[in-house]
């Protein structure tokens, strides 16, 4: 486990949210004024199955400390089957990252429906906490992109 670089470490978190459920769920947590840290920045994708593993690695390369994918609950996909594929892809990818010794807590998938604003905020709070504890991402960083 990495030691924190410093006490004020603010992780960079990229959250990929599917347009139909999770992005709406994120909006709802805003509408309900449920707070979660500003470290989380959301990228809207049409469906969780749009998330290419390359994007996750890219985020880590560019300095992200954690990446989370949020999509519709299995069975609720707007496109019927998208999240089922995403689920398989991410299970395998995360397992591979773990196999390469990359902290498994840096990646996560969470199913958040459009009604689960509270769950979205809670998930983000939890995830930011977990990543903050891990400290800065060193194992998948690209030194050329290091913040100076």
């Amino acid at each position: 486990m990495q030691v924190n670089d410093n006490k004020d470490f603010q992780p960079t978190i990229v959250a990929f949210c599917c347009n139909w459920c999770s992005y709406a769920g994120a909006d709802l947590s805003g509408t309900n004024r449920l707070q979660y840290p500003a470290n989380v920045k959301i990228i809207r994708i049409p469906c969780s199955c749009r998330l290419n593993p390359i994007f996750i690695l890219r985020a880590f390369q560019r300095g992200a400390d954690g990446v989370i994918l949020c999509g519709c609950h299995p069975g609720d996909c707007h496109y019927t089957t998208g999240n089922y594929y995403a689920r398989r892809r991410m299970s395998l990818l995360f397992s591979m990252l773990d196999y390469l010794g990359i902290e498994k807590e840096r990646t996560r998938v969470e199913w958040v429906s459009a009604a689960e604003g509270a769950k979205f905020a809670a998930t983000m709070n939890e995830f930011v906490d977990a990543v903050t504890k891990l400290g800065r991402n060193h194992r998948l960083e690209d030194l050329r992109c290091k913040k100076q």
Binding site: P53, I54, L57, R58, F60, Q61, P74, G75, T81, Y84, Y85, R87, R88, R89, M90, S91, L92, L93, F94, S95, M96, L97, D98, Y99, L100, G101, I102, E103, K104, E105, T107, R108, V109, R139, L140, E141, D142, L143, R144
Partner: protein, 324 residues
């Protein structure tokens, strides 16, 4: 074996069934065998060889060869036939233009293992029962075959062909294999140990692309890593990240399609055990979604283009295996 293959190849050439033969061509030192296309009986008589060093998998050559004029004969070892079948499933080979002779295989030798035994200056290798007699600049040596067989052959998964038109030699069976042992061993390590292990291995990568170019699953017209429009193209491992990126994505792209033929590790000039990445995916797929062998069943859906409603969640990764 070799003589039977030569005879059959010449026969098929002579009766016009095929106009080319894909096989292996003798080299300078009996271990440096090159895949080759033979067009005449004379070439076959002179250069064709099939022995313990014909490890190269010929199936990928059929992508381009099957699009050429006329029919081609190809000799496929059991493990090669899985690659072939997988390529067929992906519509990469025109089946009508290929005549497959399945050939038996009891394992192929790895010249690096001979060299690791301190036998250098190898000039020629002869078979003698279950041993090799090696003639070298610095004398003669005898080694048991099993000692110098390639790792992939020692953990062979199948002596049965996935596809063939005719067979020379005995058809075997799918055999129990211990091929996931090393993966399991790595899984049992702590993440720090695993990280160190893979840094040690992947940092040697020189991005020569041999693994990719030899891989029958990596049959893309234009690899994302070569395509400047992909946004991730890269010619050199300019940073340790690039090494990870290349190998993770390559393994991911072949996940569910990789037949575990082991060519990637065979050709790596830097001796990186790349098959351990692919096998990890295979092992996970087997554990998460049920046993799957790419290339085995032409009608089965590939694990990554399939799903069930009650698949495991990605959080399974947090729960399972490995020391913390």
């Amino acid at each position: 074996m070799q003589e039977a293959m030569k005879a059959r190849a010449k026969e098929l050439l002579a009766d016009g069934s095929v106009n080319r033969v894909a096989g292996w061509k003798i080299g300078e030192f009996s271990y440096d065998i090159t895949p080759a296309i033979f067009e005449t009986a004379e070439e076959i008589d002179r250069d064709f060889v099939y022995d313990d060093f014909c490890g190269a998998n010929l199936s990928k050559y059929l992508i381009s060869q099957s699009r050429k004029e006329g029919k081609i004969l190809v000799f496929l070892k059991p493990c090669d036939s899985y690659s072939f079948a997988q390529l067929l499933k992906e519509h990469r080979i025109i089946r009508e233009n290929v005549y497959i002779i399945g050939i038996e295989c009891y394992g192929k030798a790895d010249i690096n293992k001979i060299r690791e035994k301190g036998i250098d200056g190898v000039l020629g290798i002869k078979e003698s029962g279950s041993s090799f007699v090696i003639d070298s600049i610095y004398g003669e040596a005898t080694v048991p075959k099993m000692d110098v067989y390639a790792e992939r052959c020692l953990v062979c998964k199948s002596k049965k062909h996935a596809v063939y038109d005719e067979l020379i030699g005995e058809e075997g069976d799918v055999v129990p294999s211990s091929r996931f042992d090393k993966v399991a061993e790595l899984e049992a390590m702590t993440p720090d140990e695993r990280f160190e292990f893979w840094r040690g291995e992947l940092s040697r990568c020189i991005r020569c692309n041999a693994c990719r170019n030899v891989c029958p699953a990596c049959s893309c017209e234009n690899c994302v890593f070569d395509n400047p429009n992909s946004g991730i193209a890269n010619k050199a491992a300019a940073d340790s990240f690039e090494e990870n990126m290349f190998h993770i994505i390559r393994a991911f792209h072949v996940a569910g399609r990789c037949t575990d033929c082991g060519e990637c590790s065979r050709v790596c000039p830097q001796n990186i055990p790349l098959h351990l990445l692919n096998r990890k995916f295979i092992k996970d797929i087997n554990e998460f979604y049920g046993e799957y062998q790419a290339g085995e069943n032409p009608d089965e859906k590939a694990p990554l283009t399939n799903f069930t409603f009650d698949d495991c969640e990605p959080s399974i990764v947090y729960k399972r295996g490995g020391n913390q």
